[in-house]
C-alpha cells in the first residue's frame, strides 16, 4: 500500500485524540467535497476558460458559505493559507493602510502577538480567568490607536473573550481604530455573527473546524483599510495574491456548513463530555486546578488543568505511550514545550504552570474517549508523583 509517514511505527491501539485545539480530524463531508478537486476536477480560478470557470464557481460558493457563518458579505472574505496568515494580514495589512498604535490582549496566539510586537504594539493584561481586563484596555487605548486585536476564545485555556465589550471601549476611546477578532478557536463552537458585532477584521482557520490544513480566511469588512502583505497576481481583491487552493477552500467551506448545521447539538454534547472528564480528573487527582474561566465561559471542548508536582513533558510522554494525544502549552518549532505566555499573563504560578495539561475535545470525541482519559490521566499522574516522592 502506498502511503506516507512511518508505516512500520507501532500505532498504539485506537488513539484517544484529545487535541482538537491543535487540529481536528477532517470531517467526512469536507473530505467528500474535496475529493473531486484532488481528482478529475482542477483549474485555476483566475483563468478565462471553462475549466477555470468551474474552479471559480467552487471558490465563490465556498466564499458564500464562509460569509454566512461569519455574518458578512461574500465580498468581505479573503481566503488565506490559514489562521496565521489571516492574523498577519490583519495586523500588518491594516497598519500599512492606516498607521497608528496597535494593541492586543496578552493571551493572543503567537500569530497575533508577534505581529503586534513587530509593529511596536503593546499588550493589554487579562484577569485570572484569562479574560481581557476592560479597565486596563480603557486606560491603554488612546485616540492614536489604529488597531486593537482580541481573540474570540483562547486556544490554550478556552476562555471566551468579551469581544463586543472590547469593541465598545475601542469605539468610545479610539473611534478611528479597527477591531480584529481572531476567531480561529471559536468558530467550531460559537455562533459568530452576534459575537463579532463591532469588529472589522476576523480570522478563521479551516483545520480547527474539521476542514483541511493549509487554508483559512480573513474577513475584512467593507470600508476597512487594508493593504496586501504579499503582492502578486492580485487575487482576493488584491489583498491576497497567489493561486487559490481550490480543494482546500472547498473543504473548508464544507466543514463550516456542517459546523453551522450541527453547532448547538455538538456544543452541548461535547460540553457535557468535557464536564464529565473535568469532574472525573478533579476527583481522582489531588491538587488539580482547572484553569481558565468557569466552564460556561469557556469553549465547550476545552479542559485545561494544572497538576502540581508533575512536569508536563513527562506527563505527555506517559499519555502518549498510553495512546492518549494531548498537549500542554504551546510547542516551539522543534516540538519542545515552552512556558506558556497565556498562563503567565493569567498569573498562574510557574510551579503550577509547569504541570499544565490541555485536553481539547471536538466533533469526533466519543464517550469512550472520555472514559479512557479519565482512567489514563490519573494513573499517569500517580506514577509520576510516586517517582518523584
Amino acid at each position: 500500500m502506498a502511503g506516507y509517514g512511518c508505516e512500520t511505527c507501532p500505532v498504539p491501539d485506537p488513539t484517544c485524540y484529545l487535541d482538537h485545539a491543535a487540529t481536528t480530524p477532517l470531517r467526512p463531508e469536507a473530505r467528500a467535497a474535496m475529493l473531486p478537486w484532488l481528482g478529475e476536477r482542477f483549474g485555476n480560478p483566475s483563468g478565462a476558460h471553462r475549466v477555470a470557470r468551474g474552479a471559480r464557481q467552487a471558490v465563490d460558493e465556498s466564499r458564500d458559505a464562509v460569509a454566512e457563518v461569519v455574518g458578512c458579505r461574500p465580498g468581505e472574505v479573503v481566503f488565506t493559507s490559514g489562521g496565521t496568515e489571516a492574523d498577519n494580514l490583519a495586523v500588518a495589512g491594516s497598519l500599512a493602510a492606516r498607521p497608528g498604535g496597535v494593541l492586543c490582549s496578552a493571551v493572543e496566539h503567537e500569530a497575533v502577538l508577534r505581529a503586534v510586537t513587530r509593529a511596536g504594539g503593546r499588550t493589554v493584561p487579562v484577569d485570572a480567568d484569562g479574560a481581557v481586563d476592560l479597565e486596563a484596555l480603557e486606560r491603554l487605548v488612546g485616540p492614536d490607536a489604529a488597531l486593537v486585536s482580541v481573540m474570540v476564545a483562547n486556544n490554550e485555556v478556552g476562555t471566551v473573550q468579551p469581544v463586543a465589550e472590547v469593541a465598545d471601549v475601542v469605539r468610545r476611546r479610539a473611534p478611528r481604530a479597527a477591531v480584529h477578532a481572531d476567531a480561529v478557536q471559536a468558530a467550531a463552537w460559537l455562533d459568530l455573527p452576534d459575537r463579532l458585532a463591532g469588529t472589522h477584521l476576523v480570522s478563521l482557520s479551516s483545520h480547527k473546524v474539521g476542514g483541511p490544513q493549509g487554508v483559512g480566511a480573513l474577513v475584512a469588512r467593507r470600508g476597512m483599510p487594508l493593504r496586501a502583505v504579499a503582492v502578486g497576481g492580485g487575487q482576493e481583491r488584491e489583498l491576497r495574491s497567489g493561486t487559490h487552493d481550490v480543494a482546500g477552500i472547498v473543504g473548508f467551506a464544507a466543514a463550516l456548513r456542517v459546523v453551522a448545521a450541527t453547532r448547538a447539538e455538538t456544543a452541548a454534547r461535547v460540553a457535557a463530555q468535557r464536564d464529565r472528564l473535568g469532574d472525573a480528573l478533579a476527583a481522582a487527582i489531588p491538587g488539580l486546578v482547572e484553569t481558565g474561566a468557569p466552564r460556561d465561559r469557556r469553549l465547550p471542548g476545552t479542559l485545561h488543568v494544572c497538576i502540581p508536582g508533575v512536569e508536563s513533558e513527562a506527563l505527555l510522554f506517559l499519555l502518549d505511550e498510553a495512546g492518549l494525544c494531548a498537549s500542554a502549552a504551546s510547542a516551539c518549532a522543534s516540538g519542545a514545550q515552552q512556558a506558556s505566555h497565556v498562563l503567565a499573563a493569567m498569573g498562574v504560578a510557574p510551579g503550577l504552570a509547569s504541570g499544565a495539561l490541555r485536553l481539547t475535545l471536538g466533533w469526533s470525541t466519543a464517550d469512550a474517549d472520555v472514559d479512557r482519559a479519565a482512567r489514563v490521566v490519573p494513573a499517569a499522574v500517580a506514577r509520576l508523583r510516586e517517582a518523584a516522592a
Binding site: C9, E313, A314, F317, L318, E321, S334, G335, A336, Q337
Partner: protein, 347 residues
C-alpha cells in the same frame, strides 16, 4: 530493556540508537532542548533536532523533544558566566553532563519507566569483578570522552549505556553510512553549544557581564601589554596579550580579575607539581595513591599521586607541568578507567 537514547542529531547518537534497536531493545529517542539563544555549533539548534528526528523516523522509533532550558541556564550557563567573572576557566560541557544528561534526564527516564539512558559518547562502562562499575576510555583514543563524563557515580553508571564507546569514530561513520543514516557525514560538534562562532566567547560574556580591559605586567610589575577582557584570560595563554615580539615566549602566569591585571612570565613559572581539587566525584570511593591524571579534554595523562588530607584532595604530579587553571576539571585514571575527578581549586 527499555532504553531512552539522548539523540543530539549527531552521528554517534544516531548509531547508538540503531545499535540498541538492532540488539532488540525497546528504544525511544529524545533530544534535549537546552539552549534557547543563538547557536551554530552545538547540539540544540532546530537543524540538529531535525536530524535527530529524521534518524528516529528512519529507525522507526518515537522521538521526543524535551525542554530543559531552565536547568541549563541555571546550572550550566549561569555558573559558566560566574566562573569567568571570577577569572576561572570553566568547562560547561562537564556541568551539562553532571546536571542535565546524567541527572535531570536520567531522573525523568526513571520516572517514565526506562531501564537505561544511552548517549553517543566515546567512552565505555566496565563492570569490575566485585560488581562495581567504572567509566573507561573509549576505543578511539583521539575521540575519547571519558574526561567529560567523570562526574558519573555508581548510580549513574548502572543506568547508562554508551553503545559506540567500543568503536572508532571512523567505524561509527561507516556504520551510519551502511545504514543510510543522514548523519553519517555530519561534522563533529567541537565547541560550547551556546557560544557562536561569530560572537565568540567575548561576545557572549560581554552581553552578560561587564568585561574589563586589563593591564599585562611582567614579574617586576612593569606594564608590557594589555588585554581587552581580563575575564577571558586563561593561565598559560600566550597569544592575545598585546606583548611585543622577540625574546623568550611569555605566558599568562597569574590573572587577578579584581585588579584587572595579568602577569606574564617564562614557561617555567607556569610549572607546578600539584593541584588541589574540589567537588570531587569518586567512581567507587576515595582512592588515594598512584594514578594518571588528565587536566583537559584532550590533554595527555600524566603520572601523579592522590593524597587525602584534612578533607582536601591534593594531586601531586611526578614531574612539574603546566599549572592547572582554576575551574578546569582534573580527572584521575587507573589505566583506562576513571577512578574519580574534581575541579581545580588552585595549586
Amino acid at each position: 530493556m527499555k532504553v531512552l537514547v539522548a539523540m543530539s542529531g549527531g552521528v554517534d547518537s544516531s548509531v547508538a540508537a540503531a545499535r540498541l534497536l538492532g540488539a532488540g531493545h525497546e528504544v525511544v529517542g529524545v533530544t534535549m532542548k537546552l539552549w534557547g539563544g543563538e547557536s551554530d555549533t552545538g547540539c540544540c539548534s532546530v537543524g540538529d533536532v531535525d536530524d535527530a528526528r529524521r534518524v528516529a523516523q528512519q529507525l522507526g522509533v518515537a522521538h521526543h523533544v524535551w525542554n530543559f532550558g531552565d536547568d541549563f541556564e541555571a546550572r550550566v550557563v549561569a555558573p559558566y558566566v560566574d566562573a569567568h567573572r571570577r577569572g576561572a576557566t570553566p568547562n560547561p560541557c562537564i556541568e551539562c553532563n553532571r546536571h542535565l544528561k546524567f541527572d535531570r534526564l536520567l531522573r525523568r527516564a526513571d520516572a517514565l519507566g526506562f531501564d537505561a539512558v544511552a548517549t553517543g559518547h566515546h567512552a565505555r562502562v566496565v563492570t569490575r569483578p566485585d560488581g562495581t562499575r567504572r567509566l573507561a576510555r573509549g576505543a578511539d583514543a583521539a575521540k575519547d570522552q571519558s574526561y567529560v563524563l567523570y562526574v558519573l557515580g555508581q548510580a549513574e553508571l548502572a543506568r547508562t549505556l554508551l553503545p559506540v564507546g567500543d568503536t572508532t569514530k571512523a567505524a561509527v561513520r561507516a556504520e551510519a553510512d551502511a545504514l543510510g543514516l543522514r548523519t553519517a557525514d555530519k561534522p563533529d560538534s567541537q565547541d560550547v553549544c551556546f557560544i557562536t562562532s561569530t560572537a565568540g566567547r567575548q561576545g557572549f560574556l560581554g552581553d552578560r557581564i561587564a568585561l574589563r580591559p586589563g593591564r599585562v605586567v611582567d614579574s617586576a610589575g612593569a606594564r608590557v601589554g594589555r588585554v581587552e577582557a581580563v575575564e577571558l584570560v586563561t593561565i598559560g595563554q600566550r597569544r592575545g596579550l598585546g606583548l611585543a615580539g622577540g625574546g623568550a615566549p611569555r605566558y599568562a602566569v597569574d590573572v587577578d580579575v579584581a585588579r584587572a591585571t595579568v602577569r606574564v612570565g617564562a614557561a617555567d613559572e607556569l610549572l607546578s607539581d600539584r593541584v588541589t581539587i574540589g567537588q570531587v566525584v569518586w567512581a567507587d570511593g576515595p582512592r588515594p595513591g598512584r594514578v594518571d591524571v588528565q587536566c583537559s579534554a584532550h590533554g595527555a595523562p600524566r603520572p601523579a599521586e592522590v593524597r587525602l588530607t584534612d578533607g582536601e584532595v591534593e594531586v601531586r604530579f611526578a614531574e612539574p607541568h603546566r599549572r592547572v587553571a582554576v575551574g578546569q576539571s582534573v580527572v584521575l585514571y587507573e589505566g583506562d578507567e576513571v577512578v574519580g575527578g574534581g575541579v581545580a581549586l588552585g595549586c
